[in-house]
């Protein structure tokens, strides 16, 4: 597996003007949840224009499908405008491009609950807010999500407690 660098992937997506929202484990960590993950999950806009920008970014990231790494199969524009999941390996580690998550939530539907975050070194990104992330994960919770959900819920509670504390 190539050395992992989440920030480098995010920076590359930004440099190519890709519209995306970070979801999943990295999104939860950015909001304070103490969980671990090895891949970066993003939901991207499936417009034709964005698919073009995303394809260019994926070329720069040398992205190919993880399912048969020896064949180095690369996604096409038609894959990127679909609702499916593209599970890729890049020169900076695994990247999952998700057309839709949960019960058919796409970029436009999730964008209303996204927050702006500086992920480091001046890289500003959109991240799905913790409350909505929990709601989406609860819809289709697999084993991995079921393990993480109690931690996400407690993180949200602690976040709310901090925000409601009066400033002295």
């Amino acid at each position: 597996m190539p050395a992992s660098d989440f920030l480098a992937i995010l920076r590359t997506l930004n440099e190519y003007g890709v519209e995306f929202i970070v979801v999943g484990g990295v999104g939860a960590v950015l909001q304070g949840a103490p969980i671990s993950t090895f891949d970066l999950d993003v939901v991207h806009s499936r417009s034709i224009e964005n698919a073009g920008r995303l394809l260019a970014a994926l070329r720069a990231l040398d992205a190919y499908y993880r399912i048969q790494p020896e064949r180095r199969l690369r996604p096409s524009a038609s894959h990127l405008v679909s609702a499916g999941h593209q599970l890729l390996m890049t020169c900076y580690g695994p990247l999952d491009l998700l057309g839709m998550i949960g019960h058919s939530h796409g970029y436009e539907s999730l964008a209303v609950d996204a927050i702006q975050v500086e992920a480091g070194a001046g890289v500003h990104i959109q991240v799905l807010g913790l409350e909505r992330l929990i709601a989406v994960k609860t819809e289709t919770a697999g084993e991995k999500d079921l393990a993480a959900l109690p931690i996400l819920r407690k993180t949200l509670e602690e976040q709310k407690k901090r925000r409601s504390k009066p400033l002295l």
Binding site: V29, L30, G32, S36, T37, F38, A119, A121, T155, Q159
Partner: protein, 56 residues
Amino acid sequence: MEEQPREAPGPQEYSEDGVDLTMIRWMLSLTPAQRLDALQGFVSSVLEIRAQNAGL
């Protein structure tokens, strides 16, 4: 049997369902960039250990 002194009530360490609240509070004390850095450090360490033990 002597009664043990009760601990003064303070912030809980674990929630009722076993979640370590001290880790959450520590993560929330960091900036988002520092949180990503912490995750990145963890992932890099695990991958390095994995590579060093590839034969296992």
